[in-house]
Each structure stands twice: as structure tokens, then as C-alpha cells.
């Protein structure tokens, strides 16, 4: 069992309250997954700047120096520009005006063993072990601005309770995936993706889902098609939320054992494992509330 809550804010006036709204949702799904948690927030000006790649690294006490990264990026870093290192709770953010993949390469070289939990120009991913409410507090979620955000509270089944094993999995620029359930054929799909040249960080089943979606998007699928294809390849129980720079998608497996509920108003669209996570959203009393149908992909774009 895990808990998911995701929110896309259409009305710009609500965006300064993103963190506070997501907090109310997170509190209600804690008992679905109390061992670790993860958050992804899009378009927060304190965390991300468009045109500049930002990596979210696991851990707030990493020994990373921007001088060393600058040296490794010499030649591709623009004249006079430097990388920035910033700590937010249990997450270290490294930014530079270079492609995210180049930055990731330099960071891993400068600090071997570091885990890149998120990357892109618009998203920051914050993951940690412990009570989800404390994880959110350590990262200062309450005050965060955002356009889209996803939270996940984990009750681990397929792999260890670690920050790396918690969700979201963000394996391509501005792409995040969270999962409630388990993939049963992840080993076969991982092997097939490895054969195609995809690299993996862990033995986690959800990472396979995330890498598969990233791979399909790279092959030219749009988000909806990528998730339809995921349904053909990955077997198991799942309710998934996938976010990109400007869209959000929800899909459940055809058996639909794992719960999901969607609420939508003119101002926002929200998805959660249970209604109680949506109960405090503004205007919920007039929202269109429905349970996503099994095997059907739902997408919303900003």
C-alpha cells in the first residue's frame, strides 16, 4: 500500500499556495505509507530557473563544491557563468546553464556515489526516509509556490526502505512518475531496456516503469501513447501518476485493485489515492469527482 496525491493548478492565483494545498493532501495519505516520502514541485522560482538545468540530489549533507563542478564543465559552461549548490532539507540542488545530462555527468564524477533523484529546468524532487509530514516540513513544503506537484508516501514492498527507493522516480528532464502497486515482470522489462542501452540506478520495480516511459517518450510517443504502451508491456498492479514539464497523467491497470480518485474544477485538477486527501481543496464541494476507469489514460495539460 502506498499513498499518492497530485495537484495541477490551472488558476495562477492559487499557485503561491501550492505547498500548503499539497500538505493538506499529504497529511491524509500518510497512513497509506509511513516509511518514506517524496515530493516533486514544478516551477518554483526558489528552486528552479528556466533555461538552467537543476539536479535534485539525495541527501542534504553532500560534500560537493561548485568550483570542482565548474572545472569539470569547463568548455561547455558559458563564459563567466558558475554552477550553484543549494541545500533544501534532505536534498541538495545543483544548477548550471548546461544540459542536465552534462551536469549530471560532472556531478557524478565530482562526487561518486551521489544519487540524482530529479533533473530538469522546471522540477525539483525531494525524497527522504521517515514520517512523510516530517519530510515535508524539513523541505519547507508549506510555503512553496508551484504549478504542478506530486507527493508519494511509501509502504515498501518490492525493495528496501531508502530515499532512493521512494518515489517520485525522475529519470528524464522534468519527468516524474509515482506508483502505488507493484510490477511483477520488472526484471524482464529491465533486462530488455538494458539491452536497448537504458541505464538503471536500482533494483526497484517503479524505476523500470519510469525508465520505460522515458524511453517511449524519447522514441517519439506522446505521454498518453507512452502510458498505453506501458500497459501492454508491464504487468502487475498499478495506479500511476506521471508528470512532465506542463502535463499530468493518471492510469490504473485493467484490474484496478489500487485505488484512485480524481477531482476537477476550473481552477485545478487533483488526483489522490483516497477522497479524504482531496477534502480540503478549495471548491471541492462543487468539483467533478470520479474514479478513473481501469486501463484508461487520463491527461491534463497546463
Amino acid at each position: 500500500m502506498c499513498g499518492i496525491a497530485a495537484l495541477q493548478l490551472r488558476n495562477p492565483e492559487l499557485r503561491p499556495k501550492m505547498g500548503a494545498l499539497l500538505s493538506t493532501m499529504l497529511c491524509e495519505i500518510v497512513d497509506r505509507g509511513p516509511d518514506s516520502a517524496g515530493l516533486a514541485v514544478y516551477d518554483n522560482p526558489d528552486l528552479n530557473t528556466e533555461g538552467i538545468a537543476t539536479l535534485s540530489l539525495l541527501g542534504g549533507d553532500l560534500d560537493i563544491s561548485s568550483a570542482e563542478i565548474d572545472a569539470l564543465l569547463a568548455g561547455i559552461l558559458p563564459e563567466g557563468a558558475a554552477s550553484q549548490v543549494k541545500v533544501v532539507g534532505d536534498t541538495t540542488l545543483v544548477s548550471a546553464e548546461v544540459p542536465a545530462a552534462e551536469l549530471a555527468g560532472a556531478v557524478v564524477k565530482a562526487s561518486p556515489g551521489v544519487v540524482v533523484a530529479g533533473r530538469g529546468e522546471r522540477v525539483t524532487v525531494m525524497k527522504s526516509v521517515g514520517h512523510p509530514v516530517e519530510v515535508a516540513e524539513r523541505h519547507g513544503l508549506d510555503g512553496m509556490y508551484g504549478t504542478q506537484a506530486v507527493s508519494h508516501t511509501r509502504m515498501a514492498t518490492e525493495s528496501a526502505v531508502t530515499a532512493g527507493g521512494s518515489h517520485p522516480f525522475s529519470v528524464a528532464d522534468d519527468l516524474c512518475l509515482v506508483h502505488n502497486g507493484s510490477f511483477s515482470n520488472h526484471a524482464s522489462v529491465r533486462r530488455e531496456l538494458k539491452r536497448l542501452g537504458v541505464e538503471f540506478d536500482s533494483e526497484n520495480d517503479t524505476e523500470v516503469g519510469a525508465r520505460y516511459v522515458a524511453h517511449r517518450l524519447e522514441q517519439g510517443d506522446d505521454l498518453e501513447t507512452a502510458l498505453v504502451n506501458l500497459g501492454k508491456v508491464l504487468d502487475g498492479f498499478y495506479t500511476l501518476v506521471v508528470t512532465t514539464a506542463d502535463s499530468m497523467a493518471v492510469v490504473r491497470d485493467p484490474i484496478a485493485c489500487k485505488p484512485a480518485i480524481i477531482a476537477e474544477t476550473d481552477d485545478w485538477v487533483a488526483m489522490a489515492s483516497e477522497f479524504r486527501a482531496l477534502a480540503e481543496l478549495p471548491g471541492i464541494e462543487n468539483a467533478r469527482i470520479f474514479e478513473p476507469e481501469p486501463g484508461k489514460v487520463y491527461t491534463w495539460s497546463l
Binding site: 491524509e28 485505488p259 480518485i261 483516497e274 477522497f275 486527501a277 477534502a279 469527482i289 470520479f290 476507469e293
Partner: protein
């Protein structure tokens, strides 16, 4: 054929003023404790249910409960004699294992509505999702909208009435429950077949629809039930064991 049908109350018949529990202030245990101490005739109103779990479970008296909003998992579970109305949607397993009384969900119900219920009447105004009436053992369920896949799986007794469409694998491995569907059926499960609507079926369906406060025409429905081919071991299959 059973003929006792509960019916949903037209309005609260309680003689005394309702006891109001606001779940922004009171916890669910306080509400349920008060409900369990009721002896009959009392009425309860639940404000701001907020999708909380296990609301009004384990009722064992002729009382009225109005839940003003959306309920979470297992609302009105194990009900005996109570009349519960949810003025909103219900989460997973509403009226699970109900024995008697009525549960009326004005909105939609999530999966496993009325699971394993032995008696009473469950009315869902909107849609019910997957596994509605799974393993039902005597309950009557009337759904105003559609039902999801694997509904009435291994249903043993009782009646399931669907005024909309039914999802995949309806009535898989069904025993003696009877299913009436007005709309389309995506597919029938193993050993579930369409059956003739005889006068006795039209009459019991009319009674069920009336009990649920609906005016659908029984003649528009198709009956489904067990082909009874799975009841006994078939000797031709012995090589499989």
C-alpha cells in the same frame, strides 16, 4: 424466492432531535461509540465526513444516520437494522457484510460495494465501480448508474439491479444470486448467462425498483444468473488433475 424487501426511508422517522457529530471536531470513534449505544429510534447526523473511513459501522439498532458529504472506506459496514443515507459518494466497501436495514448512497460508490452482504437493501444513486456485490450472500443492491468489472463475482444469493451498464465479467462463477441489467453488459463471466424474464422476475424487479424509489420499467431489463455448469465436477476434466 425471498420476498422480504427493505425500502429506503422517505424521510427520517425519528421522534427525537438528531444527535449531530461534526467530524472536523469529533473523531470517528466518538461517533461510532454513540451509534453503538443507541437502542432504537434515535437519529444521527454526521457533518464534514471528509472521506474518513469506517463511518457508522456496526450498527445494531433501528436508527437513522445521515452522512452529509463523502464517506471513505467501509462506511455503514456490518449494518443490522439501521437506515444510513450518505449524501455524497462512498469509498471502497460501502455496506460491506450488511445483515439487514438500508444503506442509500446518493452519489457514486467505489469498488466492492455491498461485498459479502447477507441482507438488507443497498441503493446507489450514481455509479458503482468494480466488484459491486462481490460474494453477495442475500443482500439486495440497486444501482442507478453503471457498475464496474467483476461485479457479482461468486454471488451466492440476493438480487443485483443495475439501471445502467455493467462492466466486464459480470457474475463470474455466480451461484444463485439474480442479476437484472437495463443497459449493456460488456461481457459475462464464467457460468453466467442471460435468462428468461418470467412474470415472477418482473414482479420481484418491480418491487426492488419501487423499494429503491425508482420508476424504471422492469420490462426494459434482462435477467442474468448461473448456468449451473460449475456446480459439479465434470469427469471430462479429470485428466487436468
Amino acid at each position: 424466492m425471498t420476498t422480504t424487501i427493505e425500502s429506503i426511508p422517505a424521510a427520517s422517522a425519528a421522534a427525537t432531535a438528531p444527535q449531530v457529530y461534526d467530524l472536523k471536531l469529533d473523531d470517528v470513534r466518538t461517533l461510532n461509540k454513540a451509534i453503538h449505544q443507541a437502542t432504537g429510534g434515535e437519529s444521527f447526523v454526521v457533518e464534514h465526513p471528509g472521506g474518513k473511513h469506517s463511518l457508522a459501522v456496526g450498527i445494531n439498532a433501528e436508527i437513522d444516520v445521515d452522512i452529509n458529504g463523502h464517506a471513505g472506506y467501509y462506511a455503514a459496514g456490518m449494518n443490522q437494522h439501521g437506515r444510513i443515507t450518505i449524501h455524497g459518494n462512498a469509498g471502497v466497501g460501502v455496506a460491506e457484510n450488511m445483515m439487514s436495514g438500508t444503506v442509500h448512497v446518493k452519489g457514486d460508490a467505489s469498488q466492492s460495494a455491498g461485498a459479502t452482504a447477507h441482507g438488507g437493501l443497498l441503493v446507489i444513486g450514481g455509479n458503482a465501480s468494480a466488484r459491486c456485490g462481490i460474494s453477495m450472500k442475500g443482500v439486495d443492491i440497486v444501482v442507478g448508474g453503471n457498475i464496474g468489472h467483476m461485479s457479482a463475482f461468486m454471488a451466492q444469493a440476493g438480487r443485483l439491479v443495475v439501471c445502467g451498464d455493467a462492466g466486464e465479467a459480470l457474475g463470474d462463477s455466480i451461484y444463485e444470486a439474480r442479476i437484472y441489467v437495463k443497459g449493456s453488459v460488456a461481457s459475462l463471466g464464467a457460468d453466467c448467462i442471460a435468462k428468461e424474464m418470467r412474470p415472477v422476475h418482473l414482479a420481484e424487479l418491480a418491487e426492488l425498483l419501487q423499494a429503491a424509489g425508482r420508476d424504471d420499467d422492469p420490462a426494459d431489463f434482462t435477467r442474468y444468473g448461473s448456468a449451473r455448469t460449475l456446480y459439479n465436477f465434470h469427469v471430462d476434466n479429470s485428466s487436468a488433475y
